[in-house]
Amino acid sequence: MTYEAVIGLEIHVELNTPTKLFCDCPNDPGNAPNTHICPTCLWLPGALPRLSRTVVEKAVTACLALNCTIQNRSAFDQKVYYYPDLPKGYQLSQHHHPLARNGSLDVDTGNSVPRHLRIHHIHLEEDVAKLIHDTEGCTPVSLVDFNRAGVPLIEVVTEPDIRTPDEAMAFLKLLRTRIRYTGASECSLEKGSMRVDANISIRPQGSTAFNTKVEVKNMNSIQHVGDAVAHEIQRQTACMEKGDPIVLHTRLWDPDKQVTTPMREKFAGPCVPDPSVPPIQVDDAWLAQKKAALPEMPDRRRERFVTDYGLARDEAGAISRERDLAEFFETIAKRYTHPRKAANWIISQLVPALRDQDRVVSQVFLTPERFMALLTLVDTEEINAAAAKAVLVQMLSTDQPPETIVDTHGFRQVSDTGALEKIVETVLTGHPSDVEDYRAGNPKVMGFLMGRAMKAARGKANPKLMKEILTRKLSQ
């Protein structure tokens, strides 16, 4: 029998607001343990939650980016569960009345028609404390760090529309891109600002039934989500074929062993409305403002880059994936005569250089104006491409225009014919057998000799001129 998977995702996204959800403590869980705490996020007796307006605004923006309908009224509940990472015994979460409902993303999975994957709802909730398991001498101890307690999260709950690991990964990538565009979160699974749980069940192909699902947690990258979902589909399929029942439970993904293993359940009960946090009322005028302020989303921007600047679709997709990079490109494209050349330089040179430094374009000294100046130096043959790449790397960490870097480091291109002829003659004299080989009809030798000549010129030679001289000398 052929089975198909039914997959739903629950995605926690940590909002990057300056403060926590219900108090003024800095939203910076990575600091020294228990330094960003107060009576409210420690939930001391008598402390009351104070809802942050900034959190609501960022959450609404993220929900709009996921095409959700913002609810006029949403409210917090006490989600009761007992575990030491939540010593107050309940988490404030919007169980009954979430902030937003009925969203969707049209996900490109390589087919001609994108997959329309629905979002059931998005709710706000506070993060819990972090447990640290350690030893004091030989005694195992568990410590609690409250820096993370009260950090604002949105939880995106999808409909069970996803059918394959690839769809799950494509959905997460698009969701991450769109939320990043709003500036509400970095959405990094690796750094913990995005966490994904997957609910997976299988059924015979063609069936519309929803069978018992298994929840998988602890996936620290989008690739892990794909791997874990694929493994769980295999595991459940094997169970079905053996006639073993699928039992409702939660499993942990082990990325080293590439398997899921059962985990201990936390006790959880129904949610009770919380009277201390007043309901969130969203009026139409305020919502209209937020919608108007929403940035152009990456998929629309990609199409526009194709139309407006003549980029290929994959080029436009690569450029528009991150908002600051797309804006960087467009500032250049509006003023530079060869936008596609700029796009190629960004994709092939700038993006890898940024990745090497683990930074984004807004975090470096490089400005669109300076990048444009660098490209102009190449266009006017002031420097060659190899030198431009070296200058670009320096421009990321140096607050100087490219001309200054070029002059300071002697990157300017050599176009002096006499000097280049001497270099070529030296190279040809030093490689007589290769010269003979070329003249005997092996054109591939040209590349080798050209490389030698450029190296002898320390990469500064005008390559076009160098090749002309080399060709001429070899044919003599």
């Binding site: 009576p39 939930w43 001391l44 007796p45 008598g46 402390a47 009351l48 939650p49 104070r50 809802l51 006490q78 009761v80 007992y82 030491p84 010593p87 107050k88 015994g89 309940y90 568990s142 009960g269 129904p270 009770v272 409305p273 919380d274 009277p275 201390s276 946090v277 007043p278």
Partner: protein
């Protein structure tokens, strides 16, 4: 210094407060540096880190926090509570008593002094160690309505720390609220006396007669579902308590069990050892509705809305809704079970459920040596009018207080 009245006080017994009002508080109300165990083992080592907003306001207006009284566990009911005793013993001019069911008003009735519960949302709950968030508030007992008015003038103010406060203008106690130009209109529910004992009926009639003698106009009103107040209160309050009391885990600042195999065991044992029988019963009942009968909890919430609507509609034509404060059937000071507690507070809990202001007036609803207290519920956020009415009755009749 401890005493039978105070569990903690920084003041000597002969402390002279001069003209300042002396306020007794409960150890569930945060006073910086004071023990704040709220009468429960779960919090027995907790010391308040900061003053509650209310305490700050009282201090700012020159009042003296005289000491922390003894209190029932987490303030539910009145067993062990010495708030009213602090007033009648002359150790304080007013005592603050957390009010879920009518504790401050019932304490007033038992001690034959005044008791008051403000509108929910008119006084910040910051710093109050509560159990039932949608009902809990700072109740006040005092010998004189004037003292209660002064306390309310100090504490009824906006507080950025409590987002659940009334978003509109708060009651203004500095304005003049008097009943000299017209007769107050007091409503009495049809069939109210049907459940009263003969002795209570006589006291009730005596109270009504006193109201009429004072110039009030008594009018009959209909509250068809009044019998359901207690049921709705019981279900909602116990569920809220069951959920909210998770905060008082004991592990962090109260009693922590001495032996356990793992942390889950440790939490379970600690909670089991930390709470007394009454609170445990209440939490179990709430947990039952929360986990087994959630639909019933939702029905109770809808019922609360219905009762609120009925009460507000009734009050629109009235200055107050009258009844007795306490009953002979169960003693609020001695109630040891949830059933007895609900019986003992049956007359006061409707105001807690609906969040309305209510006042207990001594000396009017009496029979023989017994004073059942006259209980008047006011309109939402018309707390100054209600206290003005109480003061009017205080001045017109023998209420036992000091005019």
């Amino acid at each position: 210094m401890d005493s039978s009245v105070f569990s903690f006080t920084p003041l000597p017994a002969d402390f002279d407060a001069a003209d300042a009002l002396r306020i007794a508080v409960q150890p569930g109300m945060s006073c910086r540096g004071w023990p704040a165990g709220a009468g429960t083992t779960a919090l027995e080592n907790f010391t308040a880190l900061e003053d509650a907003f209310v305490i700050q306001q009282l201090k700012q207006t020159g009042m003296v926090i005289a000491g922390a009284t003894r209190m029932s566990e987490l303030g539910l009911g009145l067993t062990r509570d010495t708030g009213a005793l602090a007033v009648t013993d002359g150790r304080a001019d007013a005592a603050l008593i957390i009010d879920y069911l009518g504790e401050a008003r019932a304490a007033g009735a038992k001690a034959r002094i005044f008791g008051f519960k403000p509108s929910w949302g008119s006084v910040s709950r910051q710093g109050l160690t509560g159990l039932v968030p949608s009902m809990e508030c700072w109740g006040i007992t005092g010998r004189r309505i004037l003292d209660i008015q002064q306390v309310m003038t100090a504490i009824c103010a906006p507080d950025d720390h409590d987002f659940s406060m009334h978003p509109g203008p708060l009651p203004d106690f500095t304005e003049s609220h008097q009943f000299q130009d017209r007769a107050p209109v007091i409503g009495v529910a049809d069939g109210y006396d049907a459940s009263l004992t003969p002795e209570e009926i006589r006291a009730w009639k005596s109270g009504l007669a006193a109201l009429e003698t004072a110039g009030c106009r008594i009018t009959r009103i209909s509250l068809p579902d009044a019998a359901l107040f207690s049921l709705a209160h019981h279900i909602i309050a116990s569920v809220e308590a069951s959920s909210s009391a998770g905060r008082y885990d004991g592990v962090r600042y109260g009693h922590r069990t001495s032996a356990s195999d793992n942390w889950n065991e440790m939490y379970l044992k600690t909670r089991g050892e930390s709470f007394g029988t009454l609170i445990k019963s209440f939490l179990f009942q709430g947990a039952y509705f929360q986990f087994q009968q959630y639909a019933t909890f939702e029905q109770a919430c809808r019922l609360r809305g219905l009762l609120m609507d009925q009460t507000l509609a009734t009050l629109s034509e009235l200055d107050g809704l009258a009844g007795l404060t306490i009953t002979d059937k169960a003693d609020p000071v001695a109630a040891q079970t949830i059933d007895h507690t609900y019986q003992a507070f049956g007359f006061t809990l409707p105001a807690s459920l609906t969040g309305l202001p209510a006042v207990q007036i001594p000396g009017l609803a009496c029979h023989g040596s017994k004073d059942f207290g006259l209980h008047i519920t006011g309109k939402p956020f018309k707390d100054p009018d209600l206290l003005a009415l109480a003061r009017f009755l205080e001045n017109m009749g023998n209420t036992g207080g000091t005019p």
